[in-house]
Amino acid sequence: MTSAVASNLLSDLLSGPRPAEWEKLREEAEARLARRDLPTTSDEDWKYTDLKALAGITFGPAPKATVDISGHLLPEMVGTRQVFVNGHHAPHASCASAVAAGVRFLPLSTASEACHALGMVGPTHNQSPFEDLNTARFEDGAVLLVPKNMKVALPLHLLFITKAETPIAVFPRLMVVLERGAELELVEEHHGKGTYLTCPVVEIRLAEGAILHHERVQRDSDEAFHLGTLKAEVAKGGQYHSRTLSFGARLSRQQPWVRLAEGAEATLDGLALLDGAQVADTHSFMLHAEPHASSHQLHKCIVDGHARAIFNGQVLVAPKAQGTDAKQQSRNLLLSETARVDTKPQLEIYADDVKCSHGATVGALDPEELFYLQSRGLNADDARNLLTYGFAADVLTHIPVASLRRTLRQLVMARTQAASLGDFA
C-alpha cells in the first residue's frame, strides 16, 4: 500500500528552485526525499494520521506578503520580536530594539555564523519527509544565540504568520543555541489565514547548564496543515521546558525529539483543543542517553465534534542511563459522541536502576463531579464547561508570560463556553 493518491505532493513541492545557501544540506534532504513517498496509514508511525486530505491540493510557493500584527503583540515583549510572513522575514513588523546586547536574534539570511551549525541537531537518519522538505526549501528563518552565562531578562517573541490567498506551502525554520549557563524564555507562535501547508523545523542546542523555557502556540487557520518537527539536545545539567498549545489547523502533527545528557531535565507539556473535523497528532521521543536525567510529560487533549486526537509518546532509556527519572501522562477528555482518541505511551528501557512510569486515560467528564457542582447551584451546562475548562487550565497555569497566559485562558474559556462563568484569568 503506497500513497498513490498523494505521491505527487513531494515532487510538486520540490519542483521550484532550490535556494542558494546550505546547498549540501539541501541536496542531502532532496536525495532522501527522492527515495520515498508520503507516509500512509500502513506506516506504523502514521497509523492514525491519514495524509490523504493533502493529496487533492496543489500548494504553490509562498509569496512575500504584509500583515497587520497588532492583534498579536504582547506587552511584556515590546522590542524583542521577530516576525516571519509566509516564511520570509518581515522587517517592518519585527522590532528587536530591546533585545539585550550580546544576544543574537535575527533572520537566518543575515546570520553568517549560523551556516555551519544548521541541520546538526538530532539523529541524521529517519527524518520525517516534512523535515526534509523544510530543509530542502526553506527561504528564511530565525536564529537565536545567547552567549555564555547570560540570563536574558525579557522574553523573546517569535511570530510565524501565514497569509494564503491560494494554497501555499511555507517552511518556517528556527535555530536556538544557548551557550553554557545561559537562560532564556522564548514564545513561538504560529498564526495564519487560508489554506496552506506549514512544515516548521526547530533546532535547539543547550550547552551545559543552559535553561530554555519555550512556549509554543499553534493557532493556524482551520484549513491549514501543520506538520512540525522539533529537535533539542540538552547538554549536562541543562534544562529544556516546553509547552505546546494546539488550537488551529485541520490537521496538525508535532514531532518533538529531545536528547538528555547527564543530569539534564526536560518538560514536554502539551494541550490540544479540538473540534469539528480537526486532527491533532503528537509524536514525541524522549531519549535518556546518559545517567541521572529526568523528564516530565503531561499531554492533554479535549476532543469535541468529529475531531481526533493522537498521542504517541516514546521514552527510551539507554543502557548507561542509570538513575533516570521519567514520567509521562496522556490525559484525554471526550466531549462528543463522535470524537476519537488514539493514544500510545511507550517505554523502552535498557537500564535497571531507573524510575519510569507512564499513564494514559480516556473518558468523558465524571458524572459525580458534575453532580457535585450542580448540587452547589451550577446548572448542567455551566458545570460541564467549568470542568472542561479546569481540565485544560492546569497546563496553562505555569505560563510565565502573564499576558500570553491571559490570552490563552480566554481562548480556552471561549472554546469551552466557560466564559459566562466569569473571569478566572
Binding site: E44, Y48, P319, Q322, N332, L334, L335, S336, E337, T338, A339, R340, V341, D342, T343, K344, P345, Q346, L347, E348, I349, Y350, A351, D352, D353, V354, K355, C356, S357, H358, G359, A360, T361, V362, G363, A364
Partner: protein, 479 residues
C-alpha cells in the same frame, strides 16, 4: 553493577530430554500434497481439507510480520516436518496398557498424569505429543454431564457439525501469517464443548510436548461454552533441548455464549535455548476469545517462562453486552530470550469491561515487551478498561518495553492505563539478608510479591508450579 546482584544464570532446563520413540513422520517441506497427506492421515471430511487448502493458498500471499520487538532468523518453512506421530503398536489404544511404555515413561518424567488412577483427582488431561493426541483422561466421566473433551481429530470424526460451526469463527483462517499457516497444517489439539447450563465438574487440561527435532507443532484448540456454561482449562507445554529452533504456531479459539464463562490458564515452559541463545522454541501463537453472548466472561491467565522467541497476544472480542474480558500475565525472560506479548481487548458491546494486569520480568540479556491494544468501538456505551503493566529489570543488560495502544471512539468509555518500572534494589536485598533470608530466597520472594496479582488468578496446582518455575528460572541470579 552491584556485587550482590550479578548476571543471572538459571538452572538447566529439566525437561530437555528426548524420547527415543519410533515416529511416523512426513518428509520436511510444505506443499498442497503435504496438506492433503495430513488430511488423509486424519481421515478428514472434504470441507476440512478445503478449509486447509484455502488457508494455505492465502498464506502463500502473506509476509511474515516484523513489527514485534524481537530479532530472530526467520524459519525456513520448507525444512519443517509438518506431521510427526509416535508410531502406535496397535491401530487404536483400547486401554492405557497398550500405549508404548516409552511414551508413558516420558509423561511420567514430565509429571503429567495420564493414568487416571494415578492422576491428580479432579483434572482431566488431553496429552498431545508432536502432532497427535495420545490420550484423554476422564472422558467417560465428563460425558455423563454432556461435556465433550477430546482430541481435535476425534472431534472432527465424532462431532463434525460443532467443529464446522465454530472452527475459524474467532480466528479466521486468513487472520495473520501464523494463524493461516496453522489453519493449513494443524494436526491435533483439544476440543472442549460445555453444553447449556453445565458447570464443568473438573478442570480440563492439555499437555503439549514437542519431541521431534525437525517438527513444528501446530495445534488447534477450540473451546465452546454454551449459555450459562462454565469451564476452567489449563495448558502446559515442554520440549526437549535441541540446538536448532522449533516452530510452535498454535491457534486457540474460545467461544462464550450468553452468561457463559471460560477461564484459560497457561504455564508455558517450552525450551528457551541455552544461555548463549542457541536453540529454543519459536512460540508464535494466536489466541483469541469471543464473548459472543450477553454477560459472557473470558479470562486469560498466562505464565510465560520458556521459548526463545514469544509472539503471543491472547485477546478478547467483547461482542455481547455486559461481557467481561480479563488478561493476567507474568512473562519472565532470561539469557537471550525475547518476548513480545500482551493482549487485545476489543469492546464492541455495551457496558463491556476489561482488565489487563501484566508483569514483565527481564534478566540476563533478554528483551521483554508488553504490547497491548484496548479498542473501544463507537457502539460500546459505558465500556470500561483498566490496564496495569509493570516491568522489573534484573541486571543492566536486559530491556523492558511497553507499547500500549488505546483507541477510544465512545465518550462514555473510561479507559485507564498505568505502567511502572522497578528493579530489585540493593537495599531491599540487604533488608532481607539482615533478617536472615538468603539473597536468592529474597529475590524469589520479591518476585512472587511482584506477580501476586496474577498468581492469584491461577488454579491451585498451577499457582504452585508457577511459583516454583519462576524461582528455578532465576536460580543463581545472585553472585
Amino acid at each position: 553493577m552491584s556485587t550482590t546482584l550479578n548476571v543471572v544464570t538459571s538452572q538447566e532446563y529439566k525437561y530437555g530430554f528426548v524420547t527415543d520413540i519410533e515416529a511416523d513422520s512426513v518428509a520436511p517441506g510444505l506443499s498442497e500434497d503435504v496438506i492433503r497427506f495430513i488430511s488423509a492421515k486424519k481421515g478428514e471430511p472434504e470441507w476440512l481439507l478445503e478449509f486447509r487448502l484455502k488457508a494455505y493458498r492465502h498464506w502463500l500471499t502473506m509476509t511474515e510480520p516484523d513489527w514485534a520487538k524481537v530479532n530472530y532468523e526467520k524459519p525456513d518453512f520448507q525444512r519443517i516436518v509438518y506431521y510427526s506421530a509416535p508410531k502406535p503398536k496397535v491401530a487404536k489404544y483400547a486401554s492405557m496398557d497398550e500405549v508404548d511404555p516409552e511414551l508413558l515413561r516420558t509423561f511420567e518424567k514430565l509429571g503429567v498424569p495420564i493414568n487416571e488412577q494415578a492422576s491428580l483427582a479432579g483434572v482431566a488431561v488431553d496429552v498431545v505429543f508432536d502432532s497427535v493426541s495420545v490420550t484423554t483422561t476422564y472422558k467417560e466421566k465428563l460425558a455423563t454431564v454432556g461435556v465433550i473433551f477430546c482430541s481435535f481429530s476425534e472431534a472432527v470424526r465424532e462431532h463434525p457439525e460443532l467443529i464446522r460451526k465454530y472452527l475459524g469463527s474467532v480466528v479466521p483462517a486468513a487472520d495473520n501469517f501464523y494463524a493461516a499457516l496453522n489453519s493449513a497444517v494443524f494436526t491435533d489439539g483439544s476440543f472442549v464443548f460445555i453444553p447449556k447450563g453445565v458447570t464443568c465438574p473438573m478442570d480440563l487440561s492439555t499437555y503439549f510436548r514437542i519431541n521431534n527435532k525437525e517438527s513444528g507443532q501446530f495445534e488447534r484448540t477450540l473451546i465452546v461454552a454454551e449459555e450459562g456454561a462454565s469451564v476452567s482449562y489449563l495448558e502446559g507445554c515442554t520440549a526437549p533441548q535441541f540446538d536448532t529452533n522449533q516452530l510452535h504456531a498454535a491457534v486457540v479459539e474460545l467461544v462464550a455464549l450468553d452468561q457463559a464463562s471460560i477461564k484459560y490458564s497457561t504455564v508455558q515452559n517450552w525450551y528457551a535455548g541455552d544461555k548463549n541463545g542457541l536453540g529454543g522454541i519459536f512460540n508464535f501463537v494466536t489466541k483469541r476469545g469471543l464473548c459472543k453472548g450477553k454477560g459472557s466472561h473470558i479470562s486469560w491467565t498466562q505464565v510465560e517462562t520458556g521459548s526463545a522467541i514469544t509472539w503471543k497476544y491472547p485477546s478478547c472480542i467483547l461482542l455481547g453486552d455486559d461481557s467481561i474480558g480479563e488478561f493476567y500475565s507474568v512473562a519472565l525472560t532470561n539469557h537471550k530470550q525475547q518476548a513480545d506479548t500482551g493482549t487485545k481487548m476489543v469492546h464492541i458491546g455495551k457496558n463491556t469491561k476489561s482488565t489487563i494486569i501484566s508483569k514483565g520480568i527481564s534478566a540476563g540479556d533478554s528483551s521483554n515487551s508488553y504490547r497491548g491494544l484496548v479498542k473501544i468501538q463507537p457502539r460500546a456505551e459505558g465500556a470500561r478498561n483498566f490496564s496495569q503493566c509493570d516491568s522489573m529489570l534484573i541486571g543492566h543488560t536486559c530491556s523492558a518495553s511497553t507499547f500500549p495502544y488505546l483507541e477510544v471512539q465512545n465518550r462514555s468509555a473510561k479507559v485507564e492505563h498505568e505502567a511502572t518500572t522497578s528493579k530489585i534494589g540493593e537495599e531491599q536485598l540487604f533488608y532481607f539478608q539482615q533478617r536472615g533470608i538468603p539473597a536468592e530466597e529474597a529475590i524469589s520472594m520479591i518476585i512472587n510479591g511482584f506477580c501476586k496479582d496474577v498468581f492469584r488468578e491461577l488454579p491451585m496446582e498451577f499457582a504452585v508450579e508457577a511459583t516454583k518455575l519462576l524461582s528455578l528460572k532465576l536460580e543463581g541470579s545472585v553472585g
